[in-house]
Assembly symmetry: C2
Homo-oligomer: 427 residues x 2
């Protein structure tokens, strides 16, 4: 649940948040005019830019608030996406989790404050929709979908034999020897089954996430600040709690540790490696970018912003297990291992009521449903949802007022399943 | 001479700066490793990142230190640059201004700490060179070459009848009524013949540039700060000195005022307008970007970073007076007016010893030499040099230890002339 950067306040309780239509950033007029009206300015950091409804503007504009590092698409022509738009999808109906009245697919888009949604079926775009701050030429914060990019890179390195998943972290990153990560294995980090004394409870002012956020901020530290100043410095301070391997605990710092492992192993930051292994080879049509800390380290746990179609290209490449137009970009084993899933019993201990029987592997959420679906998931509704049985990829950018995906899952997960069923039977 | 942002210290006197080779950022190892060694970190803002030799890294990495705003190239394929490389250029010789020994073109590249240089002749690339922090897929700070982009946009709006160059600034921007800009004309702003009480002498701690830099910084203001907080707020405080129209005075704030005029007139920030009118239509191969202030205003006076080839595309488009592959992107009159030049007698009063007989028009430097050359120029050696007679465009990115172009002009201007002569006779 970690937000993109430091300096965010705990999310305020939203008893009755504005609707998607009423909170549309264009309707509210954020950052329009030269200058915008004083009460319509979203600046850094006084304006609390990641609070709703401001976040509905901010999710498309992180680079205007923070230093960032490019994920280059390269210099050539982008690969072409084939289109076979299906106008029947809007009318597909489903029953929200825990509900009893049916809802249409189209209604789910506004219910979930969707900013962008694209569906690929059998390699072709069958649905594409933009709203709020996003259009086809924009980039949107992927939030914790970033984690799945980090995990994908790690699985590629493992599949290629460049990274030993059984290695102890301290053998790769000596600086982490005295931290809780030191005696964890790379695989435990990749599955977030490390035992870490770390809380991301934003409502608790004593939670470790606040120290982490202060360390991660690229802004000048307050006078007298004596804490860690970078991701790396923070990670070295993390203490143990419980035993590695026992339970799944969704803690962003695992991904930052994995980003460090990837950088030390490959010689490239996650932003550069994502460009070299994925963004360039797949023919992205836009550069992407990561927010960075004060020494330029990309935020491997949540800092990526990208275009919707490019995220769809990633999803399709993952569905295709690394093959694109007959060319192999990475070993199929990287995806096969993700699809196998992680330790279900360790996952169950985390108590995700809406994800029964699921697991977490290579920083992807594996649903273990009948279709073998797996997903990248980020706060406020970001996702790459891959259904191998339906040969379907859904990518969604959103700015739901509630961070936790438990707020949008009831109108997302059954909707995805309904569209999958529709696509499989409508041919 | 304004640097990209606030928080730069006055340039230190460099009695014997490192050579181009010895100061190569790869040689010095800036920002290499995870993390880089402590004395090889260039961060924000404590590290004084725009001091030599750090600036040799920084000029390619502004976005990693500062918030930025995208200049989108769009989503299609870039236009192809035709190549006809001429290996004879390296051996072209010239005599530096004020010197007596000849120098080769090739030697001028290192003498000027060149990071990238591309020459177009009759629409084809005849020379391309990268060094230091730059490669073909990188972006480099254009510094005050940015001003010429702002001026180009303004000349386009004037030529299209959207902007009245005779209008008083106060009639377009009421917020500037009580500032020195209020009773200046748009044209006086475009030619920097406004009378402004403003000094960019970085050696003077009382110089107005420091207030300007503090206002322009996107970083949180120090506690107790009471000055202007944005470009716009600063511009409204500028006081008069002398009479408008009397003398050329190279003051960056004119360009920021012009950026404001452009935004108010067109409804688009200079970054968005540059994307819509130039970057997209010309088929750029990379996005560019601007640094921004605390409310997202792009730095019209110096904030652009771009790829070398894309800057060459701009230069070629200007040489072609707005035509690209048979399509007209803007009225030829926009360039014709720049090429006419500005008020030579007003320019002469500024005392540029190395630019005798020159003038400044539409934020371009017009040399009034035999070839009718004109140029965009930025500190530390950035340029777009256009020679209509030789049908030649030279673009240079550089990181010369001395900011003022008077330090590199002696080994640049005669070199450009020599290459022009070579290209005209070598066919």
């Amino acid at each position: 649940m970690l937000l993109a950067v430091a300096l965010v306040s705990p999310l305020q309780a939203q008893s009755a948040p504005l609707s998607a239509e009423d909170s549309d950033p264009r309707t509210l007029g954020w950052m329009q005019g030269f200058p915008p009206p004083p009460d319509r300015i979203i600046g850094q950091p006084e304006s609390n830019y990641f609070s709703f409804p401001k976040l509905r503007w901010t999710v498309c504009h992180f680079r205007e608030l923070l230093p960032t590092r490019q994920v280059s698409r390269g210099l050539g022509a982008p690969t072409t996406l084939e289109y076979a738009l299906d106008t029947g999808i809007d009318a597909v109906t489903f029953t929200p989790l825990g509900g009893d009245a049916p809802m249409t697919w189209k209604a789910s888009l506004t219910a979930n404050y969707t900013d962008g949604l694209l569906i690929m079926h059998r390699g072709k775009v069958v649905y594409e929709h933009y709203a709020g701050c996003l259009d086809e030429a924009g980039q949107h914060g992927a939030m914790s979908v970033t984690k799945s990019m980090t995990g994908l890179l790690a699985e590629i390195l493992v599949a290629e034999g460049q990274l030993d998943e059984t290695a102890q972290v301290s053998s790769l990153i000596p600086e982490l020897r005295d931290s809780a990560f030191g005696n964890a294995t790379v695989r435990q980090v990749m599955e977030m089954t490390t035992g870490l004394d770390y809380s991301e409870d934003y409502a608790d002012p004593e939670a470790e996430v606040w120290t982490y956020s202060a360390a991660a901020s690229p802004l000048p530290k307050p006078e007298g600040y004596v804490g860690p100043r970078t991701y790396f410095e923070y990670l070295a301070t993390v203490q143990a709690q419980g035993n590695h391997g026992d339970a799944f605990g969704y803690k962003t710092i695992n991904t930052d540790a994995l980003g460090w492992i990837i950088a030390r192993t490959s010689g490239h930051s996650v932003s550069d490696l994502l460009a070299a292994r994925i963004w360039g080879p797949m023919g992205a049509e836009q550069d992407a970018y990561y927010t960075v800390d004060s020494i330029g380290t990309p935020f491997a746990g949540g800092g990526l912003s990208a275009g919707l179609r490019d995220l769809a290209r990633v999803g399709q490449l993952v569905l295709n297990e690394g093959e694109l137009n007959g060319q192999r970009l990475f070993p199929a084993a990287a995806i096969e291992r993700i699809r196998q899933g992680g330790d279900k019993s360790a996952f169950a201990k985390a108590g995700y009521a809406l994800l029964p029987g699921a697991s977490y592997r290579g920083m992807w959420w594996v649903l273990h449903n009948e279709h073998g679906a797996f997903a990248a998931r980020g706060v406020h509704g970001q996702t790459i949802y891959i259904d191998p049985t339906a040969e379907m990829v859904i990518v969604r950018f959103a700015s739901h007022p509630v961070a936790a995906n438990s707020a949008n899952d009831p109108t997302s997960l059954p909707a995805y399943q309904a569209v999958a069923d529709y696509l499989m039977t409508s041919e």
